[in-house]
Every structure is written in C-alpha cells, then in structure tokens.
C-alpha cells in the first residue's frame, strides 16, 4: 500500500498492511458469552453484556452466497467513482467465527460458486479530489493448488 491510500474507516481492518502482516478484519468477541461480531461492537446482541475484546478475524473462508451490483448505487451514501463498474458482493463464512458481507473482486457471477474458497484482500474503490485512493476490504477467489 502506498502513501496516497487510506482506509475507508478506522478500526475496520488492520492498517497499513505489509508483507509480514497481511490485512485482517477487526472484529470483537464478547467477554461474557464469546459471541463474535463484525464490525467490532461493544454491546453483545446475544447476552447484552457491554464488555468485549478485539479479535482479528480469519482471512480465509468460503462463499456462502453472492449477487452482483449492476447499477450505480444512490449517492450519497455511495461515494465510488462516477464512472461505474459493476461489482459483486457476497457473504463469506469464516469457519467458527461469522458470516461477513463484503465486496468480491470477481464481478462475473458465472465465475462465482457457493462453497468456493475465498481470501481477504484490500481494494481501492474510490479516489478523492487530492488523488488519495480510498481502500476497502473485499474477498477474492483463491487460486487452486498448482494452477
């Protein structure tokens, strides 16, 4: 990641990532009942405890479902570029943790499959007036062994 990039929000994923510390989503774990939440949440929706600790989530999972976004979402709240490129979104099941909604790097629904292995990555999705790229998290299909 270069100097003129910034994350879309603080506390969402580890930043800045480097070769020895690849990006991870920042979740939370309820101290009382163990419920894992993303984004990190102080209040537990299972046991109503208000004590939690940070937990970095798994960067690997499987695709639970997906869809595509073929038209530019209403702005605001969307702040991506005016020149719209369709993208895909899905839920990735992080085993033993939770299912997280994210953009997918593969926009073609024919190339996506329920159950396929996915890996966390970061993608620039918008550019500010001063040239700063805004980065968000996404999941990408994992290359098969040896391919």
């Amino acid at each position: 990641m270069t100097l003129n990039q910034k994350p879309v929000a603080e506390g969402l994923f580890t930043w800045p990532p480097d070769a020895t510390a690849p990006p991870r989503l920042i979740g939370s774990e309820c101290v009382a009942c163990g419920l894992i939440s993303f984004p990190a949440a102080a209040d537990c929706v299972r046991c109503a405890s208000q004590e939690s600790r940070q937990r970095l989530l798994s960067d690997r999972g499987t695709l639970w479902t997906y869809t595509t976004q073929n038209f530019r979402p209403p702005s605001p709240p969307y702040d991506g570029p005016d020149a719209f490129e369709p993208y895909a979104v899905g839920y990735i099941e992080l085993p033993g943790e939770l299912l997280v909604e994210a953009r997918l790097t593969e926009p073609d629904p024919e190339k996506l499959k329920v159950g396929q292995d996915m890996r966390l990555t970061l993608v620039p999705y918008a550019v500010r007036d001063d040239g700063t790229e805004v980065v968000t998290f996404a999941f990408t299909p994992m290359e098969k062994e040896g391919s």
């Binding site: 929706v45 979402p73 939770l98 918008a126 805004v134």
Partner: protein, 382 residues
C-alpha cells in the same frame, strides 16, 4: 374478548400522481372505505395510520374532519400496515372502541431508497462502499435458495409474469402491461439472479380499512371479513436478514416470517392447508417463491413444480398475489399491506371481478417482510 371484523375497504390507485399529496390520496381511500362500510367519519372512534414519507400522517384529520378522534401514527418499515391493522383490531378486541380505522399512505420519489445508513444503526463505510442496498439481500437470499432447493431462473420469470398478468386485470394497479416469462428473462440483470422486471418499485398510493365489533357488523354489512389473527415478529440472532454487515455461524435460524406465520396460524386456529388465497410480500420474484415456504404454504423446493403447474395462478389451488402483488402495484410502504388486505376482502366477498378466484374462498392470508428484519402476518376469514 370480542372479535374485530372488517366492514369497509377503500383503495386509492397505486402509481404516480404528480401534484397530489399523500394526505389527499389517503383521504380518498378513507372516503371509499367509509362509503363501503356505510358509516361516516364522525362515527370513527379511533384509528392507526402509517407512512414512511409523511412526518405527521395523523394530519389527515385536516382533510376528513376535526372530530377529536385519537389517530395514532405507526411505522414498522414494510410491515407498517400489518401494525396498523393489528392495533385497529386490538382496540376493538379489548373493548376500547367499537368502530376503528386503519390507514396507510405514501408518496415515494422515483428510484431506489437512498437513506443514510446511520439511521438504520449501520456504519457509514457500509453505505460508502456500495453494500447498503436492500436489493443485495434479495438477490443473495434467492441465489442461495436456488442453489439449495433447485429453483430455476425460468420459475423466477414465471412468478413475475403471473403478477404482471394479474395486475393487468386490476384497474387500480400500476404495472398493467402483461409480460411473458421470456420478456422478463430478457430484461437486464440488476442484482444476479434478479432482473429489472423481477423487482417492485417504490411509488405512491393509499388504502384504508374500517373495522367494528363482530356483534355489531350486521348493522353495516352482510359480508363481514373476520380478522382471525395478526402477528408481528422481528429478527432473531442468527437469521439471515436484510442490511446485516455480518451474522453468526451455526444452525440456520428461521426468518421473522416463519416466526410470525406460526404465531398467526396458532392464534387463528387455522392451518396453512386451510388458506384459499394468499398475498405474499413479493419485493422481487424470488421473495414470493421463498415466502410461499416460509409461510407454510409449501415445502422448500416444491415451488418449482407448483409454479410450473399453475397452482399459484388465479384459477389454481393456491392463488398468490391475485391483484398483481408488489410487482404489479409497486410499494408505497405505509399502504402496501392494507392494499393486500383490501384484495382479500374483495376475494372473500366474491366481488373481485375478472380476477375473482373460483369457488367459495373462506380463508385469506397476507404477509409483509422488510428492513431491518420484520414480518407481519394477518389471517382473515369469512
């Protein structure tokens, strides 16, 4: 406890009415309902009114008459009308009032809803990065459902085609041009696997229902429609719901539709096998398919065969969305569920005209689902 019955129903057409305020559409619907019931506005003792766009829908008294009537505003997203009818019925059942009204009205601008995520308790990045779209949920839910239960793209198209065909026979519907399944499948994909003609659109309209004590209904009508049960449920932890940045792993948890449906059947003493006609939330063609099973009207996966056989058509064993549903009528949020009940009232009275279902229907069923994971069911009977 006394029972509430519907003695009057009024519907302002759904569509686009430039220059006509939502309150005026609501007042028209109320006057139609009053005339249908044979009562006057000053006789109404209390009511519930729902709207997304109108800040003070109870201001409708300024159009109808300043009688001092207690008129309470209600809002539960797409389940708003379910709340209005439930409370209007409850006021009668508990003896608070003898004659009540449920009103819904709305006037949405063109295009998808574009709220600030913060009002839904969701962080800004979710909207900024293009995840805050309810249509994503519907695309993802039916995509997974098709994978698990063998539902085809053709079946999605058949549902949309049926609802536009039904709307074509309804002079108060918005989208009255019939479309073949092939034409539906030729429209552009918006959120895979859902296409343009598989989605409903936000629009404008109003509806009203007059309710009274069952033991006084004979004064007004020979064909009262009984409100057998109403149920509203919100989402439980672990259910896959609209606008969720994440949800827990583990055994699948039923949607609030399943919870509301089971509660409504139990309290009505009526089972899904007794339902003669149903109005199910068809935000999109996939939702109608899923909601058939979530409301107990079939098993998961049976829809593929049932829809191919025409079971949900007006002449079929279980007609669904006989007035065109949300696909044909659009969704003015506050009014949508009362439009559903208006249609059931016509069907149970046998006065639905060209779209009247055959035989002598006795039980009608209505269902709403919307953000942030709320569902309302109403069971009605003769």
């Amino acid at each position: 406890m006394t029972e509430a019955v519907i003695i009057g129903a009024g519907l302002h057409p759904f569509g686009r009415f430039p220059g006509k305020p939502a309150l005026d559409m609501g007042a028209d619907a109320v006057r139609l309902a009053l005339a249908d019931a044979g009562v006057t506005w000053p006789q109404i003792q209390g009511g519930y009114i729902g709207s997304y766009e109108v800040a003070n829908p109870d201001a409708i008294v300024g159009r109808l008459g300043l009688t001092g009537v207690p008129l309470r505003g209600v809002f539960n997203g797409c389940a708003t009308a379910g709340t209005a009818i439930a409370l209007a019925a409850r006021a009668i059942e508990t003896g608070e009032h003898d004659l009540t009204i449920a009103i819904g009205l709305d006037k949405h601008p063109r295009g998808a809803f574009a709220a600030d995520p913060s009002v839904a308790g969701i962080p800004s990045w979710y909207g900024q990065t293009g995840l805050f779209l309810t249509t994503h949920f519907f695309g993802m839910k039916i995509n997974r459902y098709m994978h698990d239960h063998g539902i085809s793209h053709e079946t999605l198209a058949r549902v949309a085609s049926k609802n536009f065909r039904n709307a074509a026979g309804n002079d108060k519907a918005w989208r009255r041009t019939p479309l073949t399944p092939e034409e539906v499948l030729a429209s552009p994909v918006l959120n895979y696997p859902l296409r343009q003609f598989m989605y409903c659109g936000p629009n404008e309209g109003a509806a009203a229902l007059i309710l009274c004590r069952a033991d006084q209904a004979h004064k007004y009508t020979g064909k009262p429609v009984r409100v057998r049960s109403t149920a509203l449920r919100s989402r439980r932890l672990g259910a896959f719901e609209v606008q969720s940045p994440s949800f827990p792993v583990g055994e699948p948890v039923a949607s609030p539709t399943v919870d509301a449906s089971l509660a409504a059947y139990e309290s009505a003493g009526i089972g899904p096998e007794d339902v003669d006609v149903a109005q199910l939330q068809d935000t999109d063609a996939g939702s109608e398919i899923i909601h058939m099973a979530e409301n107990g009207l079939c098993k998961d996966g049976e829809q593929e065969r049932l829809i191919a056989e025409g079971v949900t058509e007006i002449g079929g064993r279980l007609p669904v969305n006989t007035d065109g549903g949300l696909l044909g009528n659009g969704e003015p949020i506050g009014a949508s569920g009362l439009r559903q009940i208006h249609e059931i009232v016509l069907q149970l009275r046998g006065t639905a005209g060209d779209r009247q279902i055959p035989g002598t229907p006795r039980v009608g069923y209505t269902h709403l689902y919307g953000a942030p994971g709320a569902s309302a069911v109403t069971i009605l009977s003769t």
